[in-house]
Amino acid sequence: MLLRHTPTEIKERKALMINPAKTCQPIGAMYAALGIKGCLPHSHGSQGCCAYHRSTLTRHYKEPISAATSSFTEGASVFGGQANLLQAIENIFTVYEPEVIAVHTTCLSETIGDDLPQIFNKAEKENKIPKGKTVLGAPTPSYVGSHVTGFSNMVKAMAVLAEPSARKNGKINIIPGWVEPSDMEEIKRLCTLVGTRINMFPDTSGVLDTPLTGKYSMFPKGGASIADIRDSGSGIGTLALGEWCSADAARLLDSKCKVPCSVLDMPFGLKATDRFIDILRTVAGTSVPDEIAVERGKLVDMISDMHQYFYGKKVALAGDPDQLISMTEFLVSIDMHPVHIVSGTSGKKFEKRIKEITAEMECEVNVKAGGDLFLFHQWIKNEGVDLIIGNSYCKYIARDEDLPLVRWGFPILDRQGHQHFPTVGYKGGLRLLEQILGALLDRRDRDDPEESFELVL
């Protein structure tokens, strides 16, 4: 037993987090910043943060993750990190020649009170920022919120660049939230199919899913350009996918540039994708092409084909709030029973949404925002499930409790494919169902006694 010390009895813990279902803000900011074209993320703190974030993102995306650090030592921690950041900005523009440096803070620079805008001003005055290049920054103290908050804060810092304009550009701003590069690609494809012109940021497709050619470019072709991000102030509207990841930036665009926004759920599963497509055509004033209706029909078809395997099956889910909300809804919509749901990120709103979504189910639902995988495991010990959906760390629980696991969310360190195959949209729904069915039936093929082992299940 890998988690042999986890007791069934649940006692309230006030100070100790065990096996977190979240991590800290800067890694989210780093991932978001990689979705800007020609951008080098920069971690303002000691170098370990940057190393850890790069390692984790590298292991998840299987791609080079370039990011610089202010490399604080004790001196910088005492006297402030301004000198380090100024030196870093100069070195970065000279050596790596990015278009953009996106700086995020850490618990260290936040605690000593480094003021990013003031340091950027000084860099500007000292001509350390070459003409036409951009430096932007987001405060991402690690002791507030989670990696999801950090992602949101960096996306908001992008929205700060947006310029208000009386002339509209005819485009819809899409803020996709923390999804895979493949998902961002899929969102763009769906928008194109619906006939909407969009401006999407951040956009890690083409940045974190690059081909192997024998050439390495620190700044691949993908990403949202700074010009487009500035231009988002002229958009006809903004669709923010996910309250936790995207809403802050969208609301800022609304208040600052008078670009009206709608906050939607991330388009995972049937219903959330339906709402996304529906609002897309409404805002853009287009009609939905048959092609999308066919894609949708295929997903509905697959649900009906597979329904007997899903019906009434209990699922435990751990992950991030925006993803979990849509996933829970998807599971409920195919008559599965998500019974234990843990998000590491705090927020009472999350618990409320999950309660609403699962209200029609007759079974009890455990839900916790700001929970951890230790509690999650204890819930599973107390009430068994048929399937776990969560990140790679859930594999320890899955093995101990002998349960199938579908890897989904962040981070996935021991499997590949997630960076290339979307799980958003109708096509993504097909993939999710395929994975869920595969996990359930593989287990049955393993467990069924020989006499009931069947070719046609």
Binding site: L16, S55, S77, Y96
Partner: protein, 545 residues
């Protein structure tokens, strides 16, 4: 890859120039001292600048002090509850990511390696101080797990807000009575790399744990294995071999370590240092305080393993042991030679670059030699000058502000437990027989003339080195892996191996031979160009012709 690269000619001086040309002058001046062309000067080892600050903005391969303390040294221990005091990230990133394996065959069968514990500090803890939360977290960990020991790790903000983690640990230890609680001031910003964290970890383990065991180890030929972290099961393979030889490893620092193993390290007859960088001072302290001599050994590479076993056997000077070691080597080498013979024609004359944390950039060169491969450039991520130039330079190392922050503990012979294992005469005789004590020559002497040694290599220089010198294989960490591979060069992670292992010992050597064969001969590197890209010009032929 392949043939075309063999034609590339390079001059190390030109390479160095190319590495530096784009840097701002100040950066170039600093880096020039850390990039050394190994010219094998007679009787002198070229000097290199190491263990100095990373340059802000230059994309470094290094991590932090916390990573060295919690991640590297204490992370692999099995029955000690490791508790990170800080925001959640530091605990999260050091959670199972180094592939340290454990078998939990300790006396309590406790194994907490799969657990990540943190005080998950929030802004209110930063403002009002986190000591109360830490004490409560220690209490909760004690109530749930009842471990023998709880280790507390400070993260960056803890040092800044001044939480007295040592006082909290002391109080809790007193309160529990049956659980040792100790803390590490390993804030990420201390020192210039992970190396400072190793130091802090080792010092605290030495102070709070070593020598405290009441169980007596009665086996013959007892050793400590220092600087082995059981990544990918390396430690299991080494222990298998030692056991087969009749040598008892009573305490590994710290792969698959247990509290009691640390606590009885003072009972060994000999300390064997694997990773010099991470732990040389512990070997020194064990000698000073308890009278245990130490030797440098290396279990990476079949020849190196054989050499190290012979060294240990010579030290014990017992004919039966010497014979047994020879028998084991002979037996084990059969399989090793078979694989080596099979792989050698496909690996011979290939070139490698090794940029790994500490001693691995040195140790793995022995394995590459066994494959007929040449290391054309190497360096450490967090080495000190003695790792490059040998221990003789230690008295001449200057202490700078960053090193001064790291506590040096002064030890004296223990009034009760000090017991010299060998007399001065015996030691002299062993020295004559070729057993070098307290000795390490470092990386530079093993590298060929004209090779390039780089300290604290960064991403830009790595990319340049690969483009200019076109090695057949590059070895570093996970952060470097994919940018190197995009360039069409296979990359082997030598920090936590990516996948696979063990690579130490005899079975490890064969694993590594096959892995390197796979990497340098993979067909994938031939697919980088599509057929229409190889010959882009159109010709007037038809497919049916």
């Amino acid at each position: 890859m392949g043939k075309a690269h063999k034609l590339v000619q390079w001059d190390p001086h030109n390479v160095k120039e190319k590495l530096l040309e784009k840097y701002p002058p100040k950066v170039a001046r600093k880096r020039a001292k850390q990039i050394m062309i190994n010219e094998a000067l007679e009787n002198t080892t070229p000097e290199i600048v190491a263990n100095v600050r990373t340059i802000p903005g230059i994309i470094t391969m290094r991590g932090c002090t916390y990573a060295g303390c919690k991640g590297v040294i204490m992370g692999p221990t099995s029955d000690i509850v490791n508790l990170a005091h800080g925001p959640i990230g530091c605990g999260f990133y050091a959670w199972l990511t180094r592939r340290n394996q454990t078998d939990a065959k300790n006396d309590t069968n406790s194994n907490y390696i799969t657990y990540c514990m943190s005080t998950d500090m929030h802004d209110s803890d930063i403002i009002f101080g986190g000591e109360k939360k830490l004490a409560a977290a220690i209490q909760e960990a004690y109530d749930i797990f009842h471990p023998k020991a709880i280790a507390v790790f400070a993260t960056c903000p803890v040092g800044l807000i001044g939480d007295d983690i040592h006082a909290v640990a002391r109080n809790m230890k007193e309160k529990f009575g049956d659980c040792n609680v100790f803390a590490f001031s390993c804030e990420g910003y201390k020192g210039v790399s992970q190396s400072a964290g190793h130091h802090i970890a080792n010092n605290q383990v030495f102070t709070h744990v070593v020598g405290s065991s009441t169980t007596e180890k009665n086996q013959k030929f007892k050793i400590n294995l220092l600087g082995e972290y059981n990544i990918g099961g390396d430690g299991f393979e080494i222990d298998r071999i030692l056991e087969k030889c009749g040598i008892t490893n009573i305490s590994t620092f710290s792969g698959n370590a247990t509290y009691d193993k640390f606590a009885s390290a003072n009972q060994a007859d000999l300390s064997c240092v694997m990773c010099h960088r991470s732990i040389n001072y512990v070997a020194d302290m064990l000698e000073t305080k308890y009278g245990i001599p130490w030797i440098k050994i290396n279990f990476v590479g079949a020849e190196a393993t054989a050499k190290s076993l012979r060294k240990i056997a010579t030290y014990f000077n017992d004919q039966e042991l010497i014979d047994r070691v020879e028998a084991v080597i002979a037996e084990e080498m059969v399989a090793v030679s078979e694989v080596q013979k099979e792989v050698y024609p496909r690996t011979v004359d290939k070139t490698a670059m090794l940029f790994v944390g500490g001693s691995r950039a040195h140790h793995y060169q022995e394995l590459f030699k066994e494959l007929g491969m040449k290391t054309i450039s190497a360096g450490y991520e967090f080495g000190h000058r003695d790792d490059y130039e040998g221990r003789d330079v230690i008295p001449f190392l200057k202490t700078d502000a960053d090193s001064r922050n790291i506590e040096e503990i002064h030890v004296e012979p223990d009034p009760e437990l000090f017991q010299p294992r060998k007399t001065a005469e015996e030691l002299a005789a062993l020295k004559k027989a070729g057993v070098e004590f307290k000795s390490y020559d470092g990386l530079n002497p093993v590298m060929d003339n004209g090779t390039i040694v780089v300290d604290d290599l960064n991403q830009y220089e790595a990319e340049k080195l690969v483009q200019l010198m076109k090695p057949d294989l590059f070895c570093a960490g996970i952060k470097e892996k994919f940018s190197i591979q995009k360039l069409g060069v296979p990359m082997k992670q030598l920090h936590s191996y990516d996948s696979g292992g063990p690579y130490a010992g005899f079975a490890g050597a064969t694993n590594f031979y096959r892995e390197i064969d796979r990497l340098v001969n993979s067909k994938v590197w031939n697919y980088l160009k599509a057929p229409w890209q190889e010959k882009p010009e159109l010709s007037a032929t038809y497919v049916w012709e």
